[in-house]
Structures are given as structure tokens and as C-alpha cells.
Amino acid sequence: MTLKKIVLYSLFLGAIAMVIHACQSASEIELAKYHSNGKDIYKTKCQNCHGENGEGLGELTPPLTDTIFLQQNKQKLACYIKNGVNEPMEINGKIYHEKMAGFKDMHDIDIAQVIVYITNSFENKQGMYTYEQVANDLKNCK
């Protein structure tokens, strides 16, 4: 291998690495943006019942700390928020059955942001969830 080839290869690989790196940080920035907007929405719309740390309130409001529940029901979260809930749920091994009012006026982007906040806070770490996914999940609400 000539020196010229080595230089070319390393330049090429370096360029690829830079592109990947740039992409990654762009998506990280997007996630951070969703997360911080989601936090503001959480504070005004969710925190009074679900608590500052997602701890819930007695048996009146379930906590948001059941990472497995949130993972398994990820596709339903948008429906819960938009349309409300009135069915029993098992969370952290306990049954909760209280009515939650829906937030009909929330836009897909707001729902996406608050879901990103919830599913990446309180011990959850699920990563990104876009407003396109919200639109899709809302089509399948029961």
C-alpha cells in the first residue's frame, strides 16, 4: 500500500465517521428539544396528578415509574393522553381504576413531546418518539 492510498483511505473513513457523528448529534439534539418542551407540557398538564417525579397520588393516580408497562403500552400512550382512560390498569403490580380526562386539544407534536419526556424520565429510557408516530398510533385507538 502506498502512502497516497493510506492517506486517501483515512480521509475517506474520517469523512464517514464525521457524517455518522453529525447525524447522531442531530438526532440527540432533536431528542433533547422534545424532552425539554415535553417537560413544560408535563408541568402544566400532568404534574398536578402524576407528581413532579412521576410518583402518582395514592391509588387515585398511577405513577409513571413502571418502565415495563410504559414500554409494553407505548403505542397506546398517545390514545390515553388524547382520549382519556377509563379502564383498569396494572401498574407496578397494583390495579388502578380511576378516570383520566382526555386532552382533546393537544396537537400531535405536543403529545409526542410529552411522551418523550415521560418515557425518558422517572427511570424510563426509551429514546425518541416522533409526532408522525403519534399520528399513526392515534389511528389505532380503541
Partner: protein, 214 residues
């Protein structure tokens, strides 16, 4: 010798400092009037009549009628809420629960939550709510009364604004005051139950009130 003088000086200053410390007292709220009374020896004196919470009759979460007697010789915290309220009430009761946790072993402290949803929040609903909040205990009374009585005592006596409003999120609007009442049924403080710092002040003031000499 010099040392001894200095020590005595410091010690006497400390003694002076502590003896001058005045006992902290909470203000007494509400209208008051002056009344001329005669003492035992017939001399006329002016006495101040403070506003007090009048007698009441409400049904609690066990459908038992409770009156002022339930709160005789108690310091209590009163508030107005309703079970289907999704705005300020959960925050108020989350905070009130921390006050309850702090004073639950003190039989001199009680809690009185009035529902303003006279249509729906019947005693059985209040019972379920209290259980689910985790405070279904005699120390914390949840009470139901008809609209006239509850709204009147809220506005005229506890000085908390409440009203029915079809345009509001849950059908009612009300203020989130936690009102502190002393053993003589007088208002000694009102704290915004949605603000953590005011709730901390209330906890502190309950201790001050309990330590007050009659």
C-alpha cells in the same frame, strides 16, 4: 481574673438575649369588634370579640353527622375541594397529606376537607376518595353538605371563594387555601395549598400555634 470577667460578660449577654426573646404568635384574622364587659369586681373592661367559625352540621365519609364538637380543643386545617377536580385539588391534597404525615401522631391536630360538588360527592364517594388517597382516618374528615351551607361557610367564615361554573374545566371554580383554625375556632392563617413553600410555612405555623399559651 480578666478572663473570668469576660466569661461572665458573655454568659450574661447570652442570658439576656434568650430572656428577651418573645414568644412567637400567629395573627388572628377576620373582623373583630370591641365589647364592654364587667369583670368579677364590677369594673368595666373592653374585650375584643374575634371572628369565629360558627357551628356546622355536615355528613362525613362514613355518613356520620359531624359538628364543631368533633374539632373541640383541636387545631385544624380546613379546605374546599371536589373529588373529580383535576386541576388544583390533587396538588392541594398531595401537600395536605405531607402535613398529615407530619402531625398524624398528634391528637390535637385535625383536617377538614369540604366537597363543593354537592351533586356527586356523596359520603360514599368521599369514602372511596379518602381510601384511595390513603388517609381514611378519623383525624382527617371529608365532609358533604348541601350547597347553601357549604358555600356560605366557605365564603363568609373560612373566607375561601367557591362557585359553580359550567365553563370551568370540571364545572366548579374555587380557591386553594388551606385555612388554619385554632382551638378557639379563630382563623390564624391561610396558605396557598398549591405552593410547596406556603405549605412548609403552614407546617411551621401549626407547631407555633400548638406551642402558644392560652
Amino acid at each position: 481574673m480578666k478572663k473570668i470577667v469576660r466569661y461572665t460578660l458573655v454568659a450574661s449577654l447570652i442570658a439576656l438575649g434568650t430572656s428577651c426573646k418573645q414568644e412567637k404568635k400567629l395573627p388572628i384574622y377576620g373582623d373583630r369588634e370591641a365589647k364592654i364587659i364587667k369583670d368579677a369586681s364590677g369594673n368595666e373592661k373592653i374585650d375584643t370579640i374575634y371572628k369565629t367559625i360558627p357551628n356546622f352540621k355536615f355528613l362525613n365519609q362514613d355518613s356520620i353527622e359531624i359538628t364543631q364538637n368533633t374539632f373541640k380543643n383541636k387545631v385544624y386545617v380546613a379546605d374546599f375541594f371536589f373529588t373529580s377536580c383535576s386541576t388544583i385539588c390533587p396538588t392541594m391534597h398531595r401537600h395536605m397529606k405531607t402535613i398529615y404525615e407530619k402531625f398524624k401522631s398528634n391528637p390535637e391536630v385535625m383536617f377538614l376537607s369540604h366537597t363543593i360538588d354537592f351533586k356527586y360527592d356523596k359520603p360514599s364517594v368521599l369514602k372511596k376518595y379518602a381510601q384511595k388517597l390513603g388517609v381514611d382516618v378519623p383525624q382527617w374528615q371529608f365532609v358533604w353538605g348541601n350547597k347553601e351551607e357549604v358555600y356560605k361557610i366557605a365564603e363568609k367564615d373560612y373566607l375561601v371563594a367557591v362557585q359553580e361554573d359550567n365553563t370551568a374545566t370540571d364545572g366548579y371554580i374555587h380557591q386553594g387555601w388551606l385555612v388554619l383554625i385554632d382551638k378557639h375556632k379563630r382563623i390564624r392563617g391561610a396558605y396557598d395549598g398549591t405552593k410547596p413553600e406556603e405549605v412548609e410555612k403552614l407546617k411551621n405555623d401549626i407547631s407555633i400555634l400548638l406551642a402558644e399559651k392560652e
